[in-house]
Subunit: 389 residues, 2 copies
């Protein structure tokens, strides 16, 4: 007899977000009257832009509360297609675009469609933890490749080539990346795709922080190949976190699989969210996004030198997202109790490296600049007092 007293084996490999325990403690401290500076949260302080909220309200008033097609509202798929043409000069037909419940839904489709049990998938360590968990849910093996500042915390074509073996079938990239904010340079991106596709493999690219870049504009991976599986989101640049909306661009030979899988695993993305998102492509909304992008850039440009001055090691200027990944080994040999101590003593919440992989998590923490400069400045002051006491 087969006992199923415990959760399935895969659950042992799925880690919780360790920062949640820290968040819970931050909540307790706040409830007890302590002031907490939040530099741990991967969610901007901005609410959804007014034109999008207004579009959502109009949709509700018009009774748009029933299912959409599984792949999404045709008008929204078309708007995303137009966005690729106008912003990137890349033709992506709407039929290859599926609207999903967040980038999470798109990652789930991509991994379930591409990964067989036992397949090895290469990804950068540190990286966004959900990515390796989606690989695990497809019964694949996520192979974290240690990366550091010498490669901008990103995989290179040379590394991919070196780690590729008979069981490897895919590479998962994120650009800009969480927790490091770094971008895969265009020539490296093209080279990685070429290396993988020459081996009959697939590249999954997470571009959910696209748009939130502070140097030269960056090109989408779709410009280099129409065989990549591309994941994007309305959460970050478009500021629609709680609405749970994203999209997948599938290669032609996966579109049918993606559509039937979407029918089965989520039926469709939220209808009010899809109508609201149509307004994300209006000039009024784009102006708001651009103003917010400049604000993020100002925050980065304030926080990075301030943290360096305190003694955190941030060897390169990250080009995107809203994170700084910092070496804290000058202060501690274990970033988890270090983060807890800073919360208790300084009232500053940051994320320990543990959430991002197994390559030197103990010597790193992640700072998010998702709050305004005055809060960041107060946080830096508190850190200064705690670390020089």
């Amino acid at each position: 007899m087969h006992s199923s007293a415990a959760p399935a084996r895969r659950m042992a490999d799925i880690a919780p977000f360790h920062v949640m325990a820290l968040l819970a403690r931050a909540g307790e401290l706040a409830a007890a009257g302590r002031s907490i500076i939040h530099m741990e949260v991967g969610e901007p302080d901005f609410s959804t832009a007014e034109p999008i909220v207004a579009a959502g309200q109009r949709a509700l008033a018009a009774g748009c509360t029933r299912y959409t097609p599984a792949a999404g509202l045709p008008a929204l798929r078309q708007a995303i297609s137009t966005h690729y043409r106008e912003c990137y000069g890349v033709e992506v037909p709407a039929r290859r675009i599926l609207v999903t419940p967040g980038a999470s839904g798109a990652l789930q489709l991509a991994t379930a469609i591409l990964i067989n049990p036992g397949d090895r998938v290469l990804l950068a360590d540190p990286g966004y933890p959900c990515n390796r968990h989606f690989v695990r849910l497809a019964e694949g093996e996520a192979v974290g490749i240690p990366v550091g500042p010498e490669t901008g915390y990103q995989l290179t074509a040379e590394q991919v080539e070196r780690h590729w073996d008979d069981r490897t079938t895919a590479v998962l990239l994120a650009s800009p990346a969480n927790p490091t904010g770094t971008v895969v340079p265009p020539e490296e991106l093209a080279a990685i795709i070429a290396v993988v596709e020459a081996r009959g493999g697939r590249v999954i690219v997470d571009e959910i922080y696209h748009g939130l870049v502070y140097g030269a504009p960056i090109q989408t991976a779709l410009a280099y190949s129409d065989r990549v599986c591309l994941v994007n989101s309305f959460s970050k640049y478009y500021g629609m976190t709680g609405w749970r909306l994203g999209w997948l661009v599938a290669p032609d030979d996966c579109v049918e699989a993606a559509e039937k899988l979407a029918q089965n695993v989520f039926l469709a993305a939220s209808t009010p969210a899809q109508y609201a998102a149509l307004a994300a492509f209006t000039p009024e909304a784009q102006d708001i996004f651009e103003a917010r992008r400049l604000e993020f850039q100002a925050r980065r440009d304030f926080l990075l030198p301030a943290l360096r001055e305190l003694g955190f090691g941030i060897p390169l200027l990250p080009d995107g997202a809203f994170y700084l990944y910092a070496d804290c080994s000058r202060f501690t040999d274990d970033s988890y109790p270090f983060a807890l101590r800073l919360l208790e003593e300084a009232g500053v919440a940051i994320t320990p490296g543990l959430d991002f992989g197994s390559h030197q998590p103990s010597r790193h923490v992640r700072f998010a600049y998702t709050n305004a400069i005055p809060q960041l400045a107060e946080g830096v002051e508190r850190l200064r007092r705690a670390l020089t006491a």
Copy 2:
């Protein structure tokens, strides 16, 4: 070298909704000016009730567009807990309740948490196709057990006992069921749970059509065991289809796994939807739901005798949901071309049995009474003309 030119193997076992091809053809006919009577759609004609829409609009106006905790808004989890106490007399602590993106999200959590690769999961055939696909996504084997009118199209404890083997670890029930509308009788439900739990197995129960019952009120499976994994939805009884909101009640030993899995696979359910759903438990909304329930009952009581009179075989009165599962063997030996013919010739769309499993799909079709009686009456008239021509 391992080639991943094609979608992963599992995709060969995931079927699309066959009714979609029929829906596409219905759309073409409608675009060409034909009138189509829709009896194929599993979505009621009612929009979301006004108190819920208003709550959603208030939430948007208040800027409630950011992430909630992964398990959902505490107030909504508590409201669901209170609902179990008030409607069923069952104590279900809020900590065991996770709010999910539709019942789809809850089914995904339940199957990923409970099913190991190779595990066999028993379920009724015919049944809701996504259920077996979720089992497949967890690399389990969905074992469809043929059921017919003699057991109310539901599994019995005796069948479960007979089909249980060393590899079987779970049973998945749906009550009321899609496509048959039938309910597992309370004593049988208790007996199935006892048989499974005595073998160390798990019962997953889909109660998404609970509330939409037309005979005696039915009890939740939670009354019989606190070890079942229970799936429910705001889509059907609560009329919130397009919002994509449901919930999972997890047994105590799975709560932690469910929460970390939710963090990783969808982060959280839609925030505006969760605020809107709080209004589903107000007396004003409950009055609307009750009026709609009575309307569904009237539709069933109109449609069932009318279809029987036409010659469809509907051997028993289904107690719930909004479907009639009908034997069409008097007219055809293959329900799929039969459904296509009725669409072309009579302008009536129904769902062929093919979408619901492999036990006699060719001799069955599903009628949904999700539209008003005048439309149903017109549909019946058209069918009469087509079938007696």
